[in-house]
C-alpha cells in the first residue's frame, strides 16, 4: 500500500551511526551456540508454522526453494557485543511464508533442532524484517552458522536469529525461549542495549 501521511516529515535524519551502543566491529563471523552443532540434512528438513489453534503449515526443503527468495544485506549484532556490517544473505521473507496463515497470535516461539527456542513478537517477523535464510555471502549456510537454514531477524540481537530453525509456534501469550528464560532480555533491541531482563 504505502500512502504518504500528509505533512509528516519524521525526525531529521542524518548519516546513520551504524554501530549500536556497546558494540564493536568484527570482520570474521564468531560462532556461539548452546550446544553441539546439529547436522541437519536437507532431505529431512521440515519447517512448520503452528497456529494458536493447532493448525499446522509445513514446508519441505523443495517447497521452501520453490518460493520467491530475497537477498537482504543487513547489519547483525550479537549480544556478546560484536557487530558485523553489510552481511549478505539469501532467504525467504516471513511475509511470504506467513501469507496464508490466519492467526490472532501476538507472539512466536521459534523452535530449532537440538531443542533451542527463542521468543519474538509476531509483528517483528513481518513487513520485510525477517527471513528464513539458507545462503550467506553467496554460499550455502554452514552448519555452525545454522545451516541448512536459520531465522534472520537483523534488527534484534542475533540470538533471536535462531539457527537450525525447525518451526514457528504462534501463541496468544508470550513463552520465554532458552536464553530469555535464563535471564536474557525478552525483546533484545541492540539500539536500546536490551541484553538482559531489566535492561
Amino acid at each position: 500500500m504505502g500512502i504518504v501521511t500528509p505533512g509528516f516529515r519524521g525526525r531529521a535524519r542524518t548519516a546513520d551511526e551504524k554501530l549500536p551502543p556497546g558494540q564493536y566491529l568484527v570482520e570474521d563471523f564468531p560462532v556461539l551456540s548452546a550446544g553441539p552443532t546439529p547436522r541437519v540434512r536437507t532431505e529431512n528438513w521440515r519447517f512448520t508454522v503452528t497456529t494458536e489453534t493447532g493448525r499446522t503449515h509445513e514446508w519441505s526443503w523443495a517447497d521452501l526453494l520453490a518460493l520467491p527468495s530475497e537477498t537482504p544485506t543487513v547489519d547483525i549484532h550479537c549480544v556478546t557485543r560484536w557487530s558485523k556490517l553489510g552481511t549478505s544473505w539469501r532467504g525467504m521473507s516471513l511475509d511470504t511464508l506467513l501469507a496464508d496463515v490466519d492467526t490472532a497470535a501476538d507472539y512466536v516461539l521459534a523452535e530449532c533442532h537440538g531443542g533451542y527456542t527463542t521468543n519474538l513478537p509476531l509483528e517483528d517477523l513481518l513487513d520485510g524484517q525477517a527471513w528464513i535464510a539458507y545462503e550467506f555471502e553467496g554460499e550455502e549456510l554452514a552448519p555452525e552458522h545454522g545451516g541448512p537454514a536459520r531465522l534472520l531477524v537483523p534488527h534484534l540481537y542475533f540470538w533471536k536469529s535462531a539457527k537450525w530453525i525447525e518451526g514457528l509456534r504462534l501463541t496468544l501469550d508470550e513463552d520465554l525461549g532458552f536464553w530469555e528464560a535464563a535471564g536474557y532480555h525478552t525483546y533484545g533491541d541492540p539500539w536500546r542495549e536490551q541484553r538482559y531482563q531489566g535492561d
Binding site: 500512502i3 516529515r9 496463515v101 490472532a104 501476538d106 509476531l122
Partner: protein
C-alpha cells in the same frame, strides 16, 4: 499479504477531541474494521514524502462504533510522531493502521468478576476502553478505577468520569497539585490507596494496571503484597518510543 488484523488498512481522521492541553483523542474512520476488545491496540504507520516510514502503537480508547475507532495521543515534547498526530494531522487526512493487536491485556464484558483498574497518566486510555465497553454492553460487573495524575488539568475524559455510573467507583490521586476540595496532600499512589480504593484480594478481582514502567512495577508489587493472585494482575507498561 497477511490476512485479517495483520493487514494494513487506510483510515481517515474523522473527528478530534482535546482531552487536556497536551492530549488529543483521534477518531478514525476505518472501512472494514473487524472490531476489537477493550484493552487492545492499533499500530499506526506514518510515511513521509521521501519514503521514510515509522510505526507507533496506541491503545484503543473505546469500543468500535461501526467502522470508527478512537485513540488518545499524549504529546511527547520532542517526539517524532505524537506532535504530528496532536498538532498537524487534520480531519480528512489518511493514515495506515493495523490491528487490533494484543490478546492478553483485555477485558471481556461477559465476565461478571469484579474489576480493578489502576492507571498512571496516559495509562488511562485502555482502561477507559474497558469502562466504555462495560457501559456499551450493559455489564453489571463492579468496577473500581484508581487513576493517578499530576494535576487536575491532566485528567483525561474528565467530564465522562465525573458522571455517576452505577457499579463504577472512580478515585483520582494527584501527585503534584490537587483540587482545593481534595482531602490530603498530593502523593504517589501507595499501598494505602490501593487498599482503600481497590477490592479485597479475597474478592479475586481481575486487575489491570497501565502506566509508565516504574508506576506499573510499583503497583503490581503492591497488589501482590496485598494478597492478589499474580495471575489475576495484568499489566501494560509504556514509555516514549522512537528515539
Amino acid at each position: 499479504m497477511v490476512q485479517g488484523r495483520l493487514a494494513w488498512r487506510v483510515g481517515r481522521l474523522a473527528e478530534v477531541r482535546d482531552e487536556t492541553p497536551t492530549a488529543r483523542t483521534l477518531v478514525l474512520d476505518v472501512p472494514g474494521w473487524p472490531g476489537h476488545l477493550a484493552g487492545q491496540h492499533v499500530d499506526l504507520r506514518l510515511t513521509a514524502e521521501d519514503g521514510y516510514r515509522t510505526t507507533r502503537t496506541y491503545s484503543l480508547a473505546a469500543p468500535a462504533a461501526g467502522d470508527r475507532v478512537a485513540i488518545t495521543v499524549q504529546r511527547v515534547p520532542g517526539g517524532e510522531v505524537s506532535p504530528y498526530l496532536t498538532e498537524v494531522f487534520a480531519v480528512g487526512d489518511p493514515v495506515e493502521l493495523r490491528g487490533p493487536v494484543g490478546g492478553w491485556f483485555v477485558w471481556r464484558p461477559t465476565s461478571p468478576d469484579p474489576v480493578l483498574l489502576i492507571a498512571g497518566g496516559a495509562g488511562i486510555v485502555p482502561l477507559m476502553a474497558m469502562i466504555r465497553a462495560r457501559r456499551a454492553a450493559g455489564s453489571r460487573a463492579p468496577v473500581k478505577l484508581l487513576y493517578s495524575v499530576r494535576t487536575p488539568a491532566d485528567v483525561y475524559y474528565a467530564g465522562e468520569l465525573r458522571r455517576p455510573e452505577p457499579g463504577l467507583d472512580v478515585t483520582v490521586v494527584y501527585t503534584r497539585k490537587a483540587p482545593a476540595d481534595w482531602p490530603g496532600e498530593p502523593h504517589r499512589i501507595g499501598i494505602a490507596d490501593v487498599n482503600t480504593a481497590g477490592w479485597p484480594a479475597e474478592f479475586a478481582p481481575q486487575c489491570f494496571v497501565c502506566g509508565p514502567t516504574g508506576f506499573v512495577e510499583t503497583i503490581a508489587d503492591v497488589l501482590v503484597a496485598l494478597g492478589h493472585d499474580p495471575r489475576r494482575v495484568k499489566t501494560e507498561r509504556f514509555g516514549p518510543s522512537g528515539s
